[in-house]
């Protein structure tokens, strides 16, 4: 069995940034494990631009963004495995990897989970109707078009207004397909406002809010879908059903952190984020196992994935220097207006970066952190949106003498 200080599972945005950050912290015995045939993960199929604005102050395409990290990784000679899948992870941080050379066992002091996320499927959201070909999740369609150079269809309906769906509406239009409409079940889009503008409105693609697909037709290939308008309580408004002839249905109905390995290892997950419950440095319920990126919480901007990875490596370095003493055990409690928070618990009162998602869109809102009666911090936002993650840092001074922590949006 080969021993490593840190093993990183996943060579996408999070894993790459974590690897580079580990090296910068002087961690030498490092190994990054990627199941695919190349580094960069999903960024490789995101050939549109808009990546890197925060991190590099320039708008890059996905592969360019990945390349910046891959080059650092190569420069610093950080070892990595391709075409290698972690098939087992134990609480003792024993990692079993399978590849064309067989099965390899590693013992790590720290494991960083960076497996990303997967797409929610038709089965999970229960769309009724037939089961023809021509139904793709947006990410699969993106892979087929951008990486394999195939065309998936000609007349397209998109269900769900997640960012990948919006990006694909534009991509398919540029490839000559007709994107008939994007239907979103909620009264607001789940994608970023800039993507609504640049991918739908600039191409005259209608976004139908409060609409969903209620039937699918086709024996061989998809021949049409029926969409309907939803009322306030989520029921179908009578008379609102309309049939749309199309050959392709794209689903952009949510992303699910890919935590199969975490579950097998016995890591506690947060039912709302779908990711591990972590402390302020991304450490999961199993000591020495950390998580960052979309496996921890689904991000809307890749820059934040990289930043999060770099941020948790601080904790990794601390852990390797000697298990830090738990200074406290404070559960971050959410009051109204907020769907989730990461981290879920604090066990030290050092500077901490919090991520939140709000329940619904709103204007002129403020996030209030308080310890009992005492307001620790108040941060105002001209508008909030469930599609946009809110990130707020609290300094060690602000957290000093903290007994409890509650957060609400008002």
């Amino acid at each position: 069995m080969s021993e490593k200080e840190v093993i990183i599972i996943g060579g996408g945005a999070a894993g790459l940034a974590a690897a580079v950050a580990c090296k910068q912290k002087g961690i030498e015995e490092l190994l990054l494990i990627e199941r695919g045939g190349y580094l960069g993960g999903i960024l490789n199929q995101c050939i549109h631009d808009g990546f890197g604005l925060e991190k590099f102050h320039i708008s890059l395409a996905g592969p360019e963004y990945a390349q910046r990290y891959i080059e650092q990784l190569l420069d610093q000679e950080i070892p990595y495995l391709l075409n290698s899948m972690v098939v087992s992870l134990t609480p003792q941080k024993e990692v079993v990897v399978m590849g064309s050379n067989g099965l390899q066992h590693f013992q790590a002091k720290v494991v960083i989970l960076a497996m990303g996320c997967r797409e929610r499927t038709r089965g999970a959201i229960g769309i009724p109707g037939a089961r023809p070909s021509g139904i793709y999740t947006a990410g699969v369609a993106q892979e087929l078009i951008n990486l394999k150079d195939y065309m998936v269809g000609e007349k397209i309906v998109i269900l769900g207004s997640g960012d990948i769906g919006l990006i694909m509406a534009r991509r398919l239009t540029l490839e000559g397909a007709e994107v008939i409409t994007v239907a979103e079940k909620l009264p607001y889009s789940s994608g970023l406002p800039r993507n609504i503008n640049q991918c739908l409105y600039d191409f005259n693609i209608p976004l139908l809010l409060n609409h969903t697909v209620v039937d699918i037709e086709g024996n061989g290939r998809l021949s049409g879908v029926t969409i309907a308008q939803l009322g306030k309580r989520g029921g179908i408004i009578p008379g609102s059903k309309q049939k749309i002839a199309c050959d392709t249905l794209l689903l952009s109905v949510g992303l699910i952190p890919e935590n199969e390995l975490s579950l097998e290892a016995g890591i506690l997950l947060d039912p709302i984020t779908g990711g591990p419950q972590v402390d302020q440095r991304g450490q999961t319920s199993l000591p020495g196992i950390f998580a960052c990126g979309n496996v921890l919480q689904v991000h809307d901007i890749v820059d934040n994935v990289s930043l999060e990875a770099e941020y948790i490596v601080e904790g990794v370095a601390e852990y390797l220097r000697g298990k830090p003493r738990k200074e406290c055990n404070i559960k971050v409690e959410l009051e109204k207006g907020l769907r989730y928070v990461v981290p879920q618990t604090l066990n030290s009162l050092k500077d901490t970066l919090f991520s939140f998602r709000v329940n619904q869109p709103g204007e002129k809102k403020a996030l209030i952190f308080h310890d009992g009666e005492k307001v620790i911090k108040k941060k105002s936002f001209p508008r909030v949106n469930p599609a946009e993650m809110i990130r707020v840092k609290l300094s060690s001074r602000e957290l000093e003498d903290l007994k409890s922590l509650k957060v609400r949006l008002v």
Partner: protein, 510 residues
């Protein structure tokens, strides 16, 4: 291209589990047989769309073929699976009463089972029920330890492959359009792929058996499709039950009630509903039934949540009477009294999977009585399935990867299926080449991500292996193409793209 001689002694119409079992049974004799199947693979009708249960035989009226063949089939099923390399597990079944009024129905069911000579049936009380199934809501149950589960599609594939190996011919994508009798000695069968001739026709066309009979001039049969919808649950819910869990059946309905079925692969099925419909190819799921299934399952097993559902699907039962009559009518397995040498199998619904082998033997007996069949001394009853890498121990895994590095590449993450297994499935002797054929043979794409990770990889493997044009890769044969072709090769697309870009540029200039 090699020319195919389309002249056979016996032609079997329909490659479902029964048609394939008949083909295998007949391949024990020296005769030229062929199976004509309209789909791209065997087993895509009712055979792949059921609960996968090997019934014990207490649900059927004593004296019926259904009861007789079900009990017989149950007793020989394990051997059959063993010969064919098909998974089989005797997990037992509980018919659970939730109300006092249902207790007498359990007694009746047990009496019926005893009359059918089903072994080991017993009524169990609350305590024993709680011991067997702690998570279940119920007051008593009929416990049938002889009830088992299998993989209905793997069994159908295995029967077909074994028949093929023993000399039977299979014609996929071959839809029968007409049947005529030539000079009263042989049949001419017209299909979309040319004409076939044979001395016997065995009509095991399942949902279409009445139509096939009518083509031969036999008008006495009508079939009524009765749809059963199912949900499939994530494997992470599989710990909740250990046995098949059925409600007390209601008289006059088309099914046995919505039950919870652990599958041989470790999922749980909820279903099926029973609803008579008009179209024989309408395998839709419908919103009200999807909701009903979840509610029914919840009443037995409150731990189940709709978040556990990973897929919904449906199958059709070939009913011999309309919903106004309802219930189960006995299997018809007989030579036509008007058309010589034409053997009809009508209304083969549940327990058709369990009874497939006895049904096949009955068909062989019918023929054997008309002419003595010579046995095929080289018949080999054994067939090996695709080796499941994930089920091997670590040393075997290492050795396998050393042998063939394709074992070292996991293609399907959820079900841990390797590239080698996908390639073996692609190399199937029947020549089925669609995504669904790979799925049924390997379980790839059947996990919780439903092919999100592996579907594109499997499409690439199929394209390379069969040297397909992108447009020829299909989900399930025929017109179920997955891709429109290459992105850049499509003239149409290119001109559209140019137009769009021009209009964009114009937009920018303004």
């Amino acid at each position: 291209m090699k020319t195919i001689n389309h002249d056979f002694h016996i032609i079997i119409i329909g490659g479902g589990v029964v048609g394939c079992a008949i083909a295998r049974e007949l391949s024990k004799y020296k005769i030229k047989i062929a199976v004509l199947e309209k789909e791209d693979d065997v087993g895509w009708g009712t055979s792949c769309r059921n609960s996968g249960v090997v019934h014990a035989g207490f649900n059927n009226r004593p004296g019926t073929l259904m009861a007789k063949f079900c009990v017989e089939g149950n007793k020989s099923f394990e051997d059959l699976c063993h010969q064919l390399g098909v998974p089989y597990k005797k997990i037992g079944k509980l018919v659970v009463a939730q109300k006092k009024e249902e207790l007498k129905d359990l007694q009746k069911l047990k009496q019926q089972g005893d009359a059918n000579r089903v072994d080991n049936l017993q009524i169990i009380g609350l305590n024993e029920l709680k011991r067997l199934e702690p998570n279940l809501v119920g007051i008593a149950a009929l416990y049938s330890p002889e009830t088992a589960i299998t993989s209905p599609y793997l069994l159908t594939i295995a029967l077909a492959e074994n028949a093929l190996n023993n000399g039977a011919s299979f014609f996929l994508n071959t839809e029968v359009k007409d049947i005529s009798r030539l000079d009263n000695s042989y049949f001419k069968i017209s299909t979309n792929r040319g004409e076939f001739t044979s001395s016997y026709v065995i009509n095991s066309a399942g949902l279409y058996a009445d139509r096939i009979a009518r083509m031969a001039g036999i008008k006495k049969f009508s079939l009524y499709p009765c749809r059963g919808e199912y949900h499939i649950l994530d494997k992470k819910a599989s710990w909740m039950i250990n046995h098949l869990v059925y409600p007390v059946p209601q008289d006059g309905t088309g099914g046995l009630g919505v039950h919870l079925t652990p599958t041989i692969d470790g999922n749980i099925l909820i279903g099926p509903s029973n609803e008579y419909i008009n179209r024989r190819n309408d395998f839709s799921s419908t919103f009200p039934i999807m909701k009903m299934l979840s509610a029914e399952a919840y009443s037995f097993l409150p731990l189940i949540s709709s978040g556990d559902i990973i897929r919904s699907y449906s199958g059709l039962r070939a009913k011999q009477v309309p919903s106004s009559v309802g219930g189960f009518w006995d299997f018809v397995i007989e030579e036509s009294d008007t058309v010589n040498n034409f053997i009809n199998l009508i209304g083969i619904e549940s327990p058709g999977l369990t009874a497939a082998q006895p049904i096949a033997q009955r068909v062989v007996n019918i023929i054997n009585k008309k002419e003595r069949l010579n046995s095929n001394s080289s018949f080999n009853p054994f067939r090996k399935g695709i080796l499941k890498f994930e089920e091997q121990d670590e040393e075997t895994k290492k050795a396998l990867i050393k042998q063939d590095s394709n074992y070292g590449e996991i293609v399907c993450r959820c079900e841990k299926i390797t590239k080698k297994e996908i390639l073996e499935a692609a190399n199937n002797p029947l020549g089925a080449k669609s995504l669904i054929s790979i799925k049924y043979r390997t379980r790839a794409m059947m996990g919780r991500c439903q092919g999100g990770y592996c579907q594109t990889r499997i499409m690439e493997i199929l394209r390379e292996y069969f040297e397909l044009d992108p447009k020829e890769i299909t989900l399930k044969g025929n017109d179920s193409y997955l891709l429109n072709g290459y992105r850049s090769n499509k003239e149409n697309n290119q001109s559209c793209q140019k137009k769009k870009l021009l209009s964009l540029e114009e937009g920018l200039l303004v």
